[in-house]
Symmetry: C2
């Protein structure tokens, strides 16, 4: 069996769409994904899992109801389960995401995105968790 | 509640010992650890979990019985459960490790290290998993 490393930057070079994580490896029942994001996402909550962000390039802000967390390359943050959050990036950000297999991803959340708003949504969306197919990057 | 990012390089600057991972964040029932390694470890197997390595600095080789995996900064590899492996680094390597809370860590494996050998061990050690205290970095 051949074993190969995963080059994060190389995987990120293979796509250009935003808010659409690609699975690059699996760790037990978790998926390691690369993602490019730009602009503001939607306020949402994962009721049954934490979510790990590791920023590779660019500056990402994860808005929380009680303050923002700013992430530069080489910094990470775990959004605790049940905590409403909304990522936002002025420029393009490249990041790693690690979360349980089947967690609702950013891409799917965009597909179900509520009407656009230029201000923070005060009514949170409760994002269910279900299994979804993701092409291996 | 204050939310703070984790700066990986800053955490790595807080210690100098090798093969002694420090927990810097938690993701559900997993721990995100930073570690410095240098030299050769011991051949061992995790029977009940995969193990994720993400290299931050330096060049790490993960020896496997059927070939080596070489990791440079920005590269990752998941050692599948049940696969015997032995990390080795000529120079110092800084890395992130992600594995389930309570997994037997590198530090403990060193504490139970078998007699030194300059060649690969053909008799594998089967590392049990148990909970161990790790100081937050």
């Amino acid at each position: 069996m051949a074993h190969e490393s995963v080059d994060i930057t190389e995987k990120l070079s293979l796509f250009s769409d935003h808010w659409s994580p690609k699975v690059v490896a699996r760790l037990n029942d978790y998926e390691i994904k690369v993602v490019k994001v730009k602009g503001e996402f939607v306020w949402h909550t994962h009721d049954d899992t934490d979510e790990l962000f590791i920023v590779v390039a660019g500056d990402l802000t994860i808005q929380l109801r009680d303050g923002d967390v700013r992430l530069s390359p080489g910094q990470l943050f775990v959004v605790p389960r049940g905590v409403e959050h909304c990522p936002i990036a002025d420029g393009e950000v490249h990041a790693l995401l690690i979360e349980p297999t089947g967690s609702l991803t950013l891409a799917t959340q965009v597909a179900h995105r509520p009407p656009a708003s230029t201000t923070h949504r005060r009514d949170s969306r409760r994002c269910p968790t279900f299994r979804m197919p993701i092409l291996q990057c």
